[in-house]
Amino acid sequence: MEAFLLQLTAGIATGGIYASVALAIVMIYQATHHVNFAQGEMATLSTFIALTMIQAGLPYWMAFAGTLVVSFVMGALVERLIMRPVQHAPILTHVGVYIGMLLIIGNLTGWVFGYTIQMFPSPFEGGRPMLGGLFSAHQLGSVAVTLAVLILVYLFFTKTSLGLAMRAAAYNPRSARLVGIRVDVMLALGWGLAAAIGSVAGMMVAPIVFLDPNMMLGILLYAFAGALLGGIDNPPGAVMGGFLVGILENLAGAYIVGTDLKLTVALVIIIGVLVLKPSGLFGRVVFTRV
């Protein structure tokens, strides 16, 4: 029983990571109705930037805030410079551009920062294991950070006029433009926010899996799975989905398929959700007029 509880809590902790990447994916989807394949690579790059700041002597939370700002600018720039020109191109072009960014950012990260695996500090270190030894301090801390980000995003989208404008721009760009919303600015904002959320995920996951340029590849898949499971158009749903996928992955890895098929669990979840319930557990069912 205790082993089962340990697996469950470990699942919740990794689920928190997936949840924050899933949240970033859903953010992009909210703003553009696209899924960014390069999200993981962008987050890894942000984490390396954070590490550089910490190694330069900045205190952790200063580096954390600095990374958020840098990532936000990076995301907005990517939208402005790379995505804007192909805004109205076919989906194949978008997928191609995402793949191109994945290759460029991933390999540039390796080129600049090297391929050796590095330790990344956790801000929650030093504390004793909590809740009867089930959670480590970092696990608890990263779950708390994920939830805090979720609440902030939720408040932003529902309580601020900027959030409302962003939702309007994504939902109906033409009408939004007519009432005076600058749709292109909203798109850049959406990309910037998503990159910032992704960087939080990167900084939270790096102490657990260690930092290297390919850190995010598997995580990205689980996050996709989580986002789809929860409903791609529903931020709280995506977070729930992320936690669920973390738990499922850990339990399946421990009791059903063994650790060497964990990635396949993500694949099965993705296909299962898309085939059986494409709107996800908490998503809206969208009807398309033909």
Partner: protein
């Protein structure tokens, strides 16, 4: 097709250009060219489902891997001859492609790309799995031998195993390219493109969209699987880590750079993905990826119809000036 003298000459020239490397190139470069032709064949497979039928696949490395493993297992564990394994590899890949095509029916563009992408990421893990280890050799992989040229051939043409392999790859790929070209320019090819461009109209015209889409996946997987089978024998080795998601992305890059929905473009794509990384690797380990990504984005921005489109544009300009 009427074969005008000019066309006949062109075909002859093409044949000569394809065969000349047998005598001109030394072993290593001939091997590289062999691999380039194999890559072109794999890109052709991807082009049928993604280029002509509009179903974006980022996971064709999986079919490549299955083809390679079917041939390797039959050759290494059951002592089959290389030729006998090819139809099996093609058939199994075709069936798997059909099976993947079924859920793909329910998924639109981006989601299909997502699912096939995750398939590509999961492939090495599946190949390493213990349940299959007795067949696949696990992480160690399997070793094979290139077939030796038969005696009746060597008595006429003195060829070594590398040259003979190139000839085999050339013949198999040539047949596949001809068949694909024939498929695309006919009724089915037009139906595939109609399904891509306007599914509702296509359906209203009485086309069976589901059958076309799953069929396209099957044919596409079959061709890419044959390429995988050829590559296993040409390299004389298969291992799970040769089939990472980067392989699938390589095919995708080859298709975009060569030319989406172009048979000839697949050939350019194969040459590109084999030779450009070799050149870039001399700069840095990370350089091939960065250069790939940049070229991919530049092509999508500036020349979305790929290299084949550029050639076509130049040709039409030349001929229109003459008139």
């Amino acid at each position: 097709m009427s074969l005008s003298p000019a066309r006949f000459l062109l075909v002859l020239l093409g044949l000569a250009a394809a065969l000349a490397p047998l005598w001109v190139l030394e072993s290593f470069h001939l091997f590289q060219l062999t691999m380039a032709v194999i890559m072109a064949l794999a890109v052709l497979g991807l082009n049928i489902v993604t280029g002509y039928n509009g179903q974006i696949s980022l996971g064709h490395g999986a079919f490549f891997a299955i083809g390679a493993y079917v041939t390797s297992i039959l050759m290494a564990q059951a002592d089959w001859s290389f030729y006998a394994t090819l139809p099996f590899a093609a058939a199994i890949c075709g069936m798997v492609g059909y099976a993947v095509g079924l859920p793909a029916l329910r998924l639109g563009g981006l989601y299909l790309a997502l699912v096939t992408f995750s398939l590509a990421v999961a492939v090495p893990q599946l190949l390493k799995h213990k349940a299959l280890e007795a067949w696949t050799g696990g992480v160690q992989g399997l070793f094979l031998m290139k077939p030796d040229p038969p005696r009746w051939l060597t008595s006429v043409l003195p060829l070594n195993a590398d040259q003979y392999m190139y000839l085999n790859v050339l013949i198999v790929s040539g047949i596949c390219f001809l068949l694909a070209w024939n498929l695309i320019r006919g009724r089915i090819g037009r139906a595939l493109m109609a399904t891509r461009d306007h599914p509702t109209a296509a359906e209203a015209m009485g086309m069976d969209i589901a059958a076309l889409k799953t069929g396209a996946f099957a044919v596409s997987a079959m061709i890419t699987g044959i390429a995988g089978a050829l590559s296993a024998v040409a390299v004389e080795f298969v291992a799970p880590d040769s089939f990472t998601f980067l392989l699938s992305i390589t095919f995708f890059v080859g298709m975009v750079v060569g030319g989406v929905a172009s048979i000839l473009g697949s050939l350019f794509g194969g040459l590109f993905v084999l030779f450009v990384p070799n050149i870039a690797e001399s700069i840095s380990r990370a350089a091939p990826g960065v250069i790939y990504g940049m070229i991919l984005i530049i092509f999508l921005f500036v020349l979305p119809e790929g290299f084949a489109g550029l050639v076509r544009r130049i040709l039409t300009r030349l001929t229109s000036r003459r008139n």
